[in-house]
């Protein structure tokens, strides 16, 4: 559905050229939900704007929905839907009118446009809001209206730029349901997010982008497996025994370098749940009492940290 080779964009600014995207290769298959994960400023939106014909790449080629990005931008536009990060509806316009006009720009007749629009309003739980001005809708409703505008021509490929930024957790979970339903209806979805939970919950495959380059790619599970193992955290009843504990955990096959902090000893080890019974017996054998044991599966944040040396959570929200 998408194939890109060395897609790059350099912006010229007063302080010199800025390489926002430095050569992105990517492939998206039909029917996938692919997530573009990265901090703000990593190049997510720039890449999306290039793939949606809004921004001319300075280098590289891409085929989007079967059309060449440079040779046939109109063909690309006909086949894709795009929901921009900052919204798409005009506060003073009525929701239904915006939807019908958008559909008509794709060549749809007025009656077909209204029919399709009302159907999407029902599907995205916007019933009764057709005549309302866009400015009078709640944040979640307005975001869903953006999505209606992006889907009005039944595109086979949908780009969602930060679809849930600024929404409350309930609206976010609700929107995830709609995105999944969209994919179940046969569409391919390419979304960007800087929320790990979102990428984890929603995406079949994730590409991690940082400083304009894709630094990792795979299913959420596979990416998380790349981080060497689970974190095993032991809380000791007697912190003076931490030296003994470190000796035991470091001896486990595949274990990383343990770290001790206060009463806690932490170590990364593959299949933390499986090694835990043996570890507990060993610690019992040398007379160490534990207050608590915790095994933590790696998160995408751990993935990002191990790939880039920085945590995603340090980035301020958009």
């Amino acid at each position: 559905m998408i194939h890109a080779d060395g897609l790059a964009r350099t912006f010229s600014t007063r302080t010199g050229p800025v390489e926002a995207v430095r050569g992105v290769d990517l492939d998206v298959k039909d029917g996938e939900i692919v997530g573009f994960l990265g901090p703000n400023g990593a190049g997510k939106t720039t890449t999306l704007r290039m793939l949606t014909t809004l921004l001319a790449p300075t280098a590289g080629t891409a085929t989007v929905a079967g059309c060449d990005l440079r040779a046939d931008p109109v063909g690309v536009r006909r086949r894709i839907g795009y929901v921009a990060q900052g919204g798409a509806s005009f506060a003073e316009a009525r929701a239904g009118e915006e939807v019908v006009d958008q559909a008509r720009l794709y060549g749809t007749s007025r009656t077909a446009a209204a029919e399709r629009g009302r159907e999407l309003f029902t599907r995205l739980e916007l019933d009764g809001l057709w005549e309302r001005t866009c400015g009078s809708l709640s944040g979640g409703q307005r975001r869903r209206l953006d999505i209606v505008l992006g889907l009005i021509h039944s595109p086979q490929l949908v780009f969602l730029d930060e679809p849930t930024t600024g929404l409350d957790p309930q609206s976010r979970a609700n929107l995830w349901g709609h995105v999944r339903a969209l994919r179940d209806g046969g569409a391919t979805i390419f979304l960007t997010t800087h929320y790990l939970e979102e990428a984890d919950a929603l995406c079949d495959r994730i590409m991690v982008i940082d400083h304009g380059l894709i630094v990792a790619e795979g299913t959420p599970e596979r990416l998380k497996r790349q981080v060497s193992g689970d974190a095993v955290v032991l809380s000791l009843a007697d912190p003076t025994r931490s030296g003994d504990v470190i000796g035991v955990v470091a001896a486990m096959p595949g274990a990383g370098t343990p770290s001790a902090q206060g009463t806690q000893v932490e170590v990364r080890v593959p299949h933390g749940g499986a090694v835990l019974p043996g570890l507990l017996r060993d610690l019992d054998a040398i007379g160490v009492d534990l207050d608590a044991v915790e095994v933590r599966r790696p998160t995408l944040d751990d993935v990002f940290l191990s790939l880039t040396g920085r945590s995603l959570r340090e980035q301020p929200a958009a």
């Binding site: 931008p73 536009r77 839907g81 921009a84 509806s89 005009f90 316009a93 720009l105 794709y106 953006d146």
Partner: protein, 254 residues
Amino acid sequence: MSFLRETWIVFSRALRLSLRNPVWVVIGLTQPVLYLALFGPLLNQVVAATPGLPPGDSWQIFVPGLLVQLGIFGAAFVGFGLVAEWRAGVIERMRVTPAHRLALLLGRVARDVLVLLVQALLLTLVAIPFGLRAPVGGVLLALLVVGLLGAAFSSLSYAAALQLKSEDALAPLLNGIAVPLLLLSGILLPMSIAPAWLRTLSDANPVKWVVDGVRAFFLGDVATATAVWGLLATAALVAVGLVVGTRTFRRESA
């Protein structure tokens, strides 16, 4: 065909939004009517006492100037609306459709021209009880020129808005261009009474030629050099406006 249809869709959407919030249409009309009521009567005395003015009474000199002023100022500030639409994501949303880029511009320009023509017609009608007498053919030609002028300045305003994407940057730019154009056009008083240096400066201003041309139309002098120069200056402004507007709207990174 699809180009005309897309232009129509953009035009009717823009017009619908204007009609729903007609405050700006009304404000745009109030200003020239105020000039007509509060400044026009002063001119009777000035025109009678000043040698070297073009022929015609004070209303035949003054109303054409107001029409041109309306054409420029009524259109020059439409860019602010585009900045608001751009910020709301509307422009971007329309740009991902297969619609012609030019239709996105021309639909909005057509709305502005229609609004301007209605205002210009009302202004001319209101001027009749004040004492304006002019041939119908000349007035219609004048309205055509006002519409074209509006198309030129509204295109330029949209191009500037799309380029700058900020009201704060747009306001000084538009004022910086529109005010000197106005002052050097002889709209309020004909440049025939200006000192030589000012007249030279004003000769370089295409709007001055437009104003002189529209004054000739109001006298019924359609087949004169002044009238032709006025039409040529209008055509040149329209060409510049449309070329700049088209290029800005076509640019892929705009």
